[in-house]
Amino acid sequence: MRTATAIRASLVLLGALCLSASAGQSGPPAPAAPSSAAAKAPPTSPAASPKTMTEAGRQAFLDRLEKDLGAIRTLKAYFDQEKHLSLFTDVVHAEGVCLFVRPDTIRFEITKPFQSVLITREKAVAKYDCIDGRWRKIPLREARILLMVTSQIASWLGGHFRDQSDVYDIAVTADKPHTIILTPRHEEFRKHITVIELGLSEDSARVSTATIREPGGDFTRMTFTREERDIAISADVFDTAGAAPAELDRHAPRREAPASPKTAKDGSP
């Protein structure tokens, strides 16, 4: 049952990967030497068996990411989402923005071609959609699972990719720009998701893409742009009690960082 819950949580998690993790600015990690004894490559990766880092190199790389990402207090990033369906000759597009405040406050918002907002903050979760110009709060049955998911996201945002090593095999491509490859361990999970790829920027300072691949060739790619770090973000945009989400435009982040995490308006430590 626990496994089933974990799998279900992981399924919900999928796109949540898109809540852009990003590495710090302290410079790229040392490149690892490619090796034939590299960490296990994802068997279902669409790329032709990309060369991956050795175990030692991967651990060093993830150590560096963990250290750098751990320094980020707040994050805002816009994203373009492309869903590639094998049935369709073109892609399904969406746009949005995501906000993160350490340790576990997240807002994931679709802005085009429709409007939807998911907010998780500590133990509270709220989801809204806008139909006919009117925001509605959606009663959530799976709030517990969403919290599990966002907790997992938060740990990734903190660079703790290895926390889910019981759910995913982790590999990192040897060549730049590096890609973190997460392959679900559970067969049941792989029936839905074959692999998740987090593409890093050339300097490995941020995640620039997140790709979720499904059986049969369908995949979703999120491309992150206009990333801002350590900006002050109003607590209002993370309010989960309201009948409608606070508008982001009214609470545009300022370009100064909060004095300390404890002084962030959202009250998170």
Partner: protein, 254 residues
């Protein structure tokens, strides 16, 4: 029949004992009594003759969408009185009755995948969180009603007190269906199915606007109520466009 609000895990667990089955049957009956039999009266309207009007409305309905299309929409499902999460539905539809729909979450992952052809409905990818009965009986039907169902030239013309006119056709099993139009604009504003004097299904089309990928005004909103299955579906149409489709699309995996 199962209650809409239960997820599949809980249903399976409940059915492990005979007592649970009896309990479930009671719940089903209660659900039927509380919801399944709910319906509203069917206004049959007043029959009248106007062959030119029939021809105009039939043509308007036929030209409303291309015969083979792709439609993109966001749908919100309320089943058994409980609002569920929304999902984006990408649909491929081809006259007379072929539908393929794929639902995706805000995060982009596929939630479910359903195919409907004259041979029946198949679930290519299932989703435990979505009421199974809606998936098997209603999801593709709703898409077919929205984009494929059209009145025949033999339909009977009726006039309603609110000024709308309808084209009525008999269906099997003592049922009938009616396509409702705003006669002045020549626009389809509703679709209903009735048994006797009671509505069993209703779809309202509103918010007409130009589609990005089809040079005609199409409904921006479709509001579906199924009184028999007890659900309501709110559809926000994002785009519609012509799309040649071959038979492979309506097989399970092209």
């Amino acid at each position: 029949m199962t209650a809409w609000g239960e997820d599949r895990d809980s249903r399976e667990a409940r059915c492990r004992s005979r007592g649970a089955i009896v309990f479930a049957a009671g719940a089903v009956l209660a659900n039927l009594l509380a919801h399944g039999c709910a319906s509203v009266p069917y206004d049959r309207g007043v029959p009248f003759q106007d062959e030119a009007l029939v021809a105009r409305l039939v043509r308007a309905a036929a030209e409303m969408y291309p015969p083979s299309l792709r439609a993109d929409q966001v749908v919100a499902l309320e089943a058994g009185g409980r609002r569920m999460d929304h999902f984006r539905v990408c649909a491929l539809a081809r006259r007379p009755d072929d539908v393929r729909l794929v639902a995706i979450s805000d995060f982009g992952n596929t939630i479910f995948d359903v195919v409907r052809t004259p041979g029946g409905t198949r679930i290519v990818k299932d989703c435990p969180e979505v009421p199974r009965r809606w998936l098997t009986e209603a999801a593709a039907r709703d898409i077919a009603v929205a984009y494929l169902a059209r009145p025949s030239p033999q339909a009977r013309l009726v006039r309603h007190d609110d000024g709308t006119v309808g084209l009525v056709e008999d269906l099997r099993g003592g049922r009938c269906r009616e396509f409702i139009f705003d006669p002045a604009a020549g626009r389809l504003t509703g679709y209903i199915e009735a048994r006797g004097n009671r509505l069993v299904y209703r779809a309202a089309f509103s918010g007409y606007r130009m589609a990005a990928s089809w040079p005609r005004q199409v409904p921006g909103a479709i509001d579906v109520t199924d009184f028999r299955l007890d659900y309501r579906l709110t559809v926000q149409v994002l785009d519609v466009g012509a799309r040649p489709l071959d038979d492979k699309v309506f097989s399970e995996r092209p």
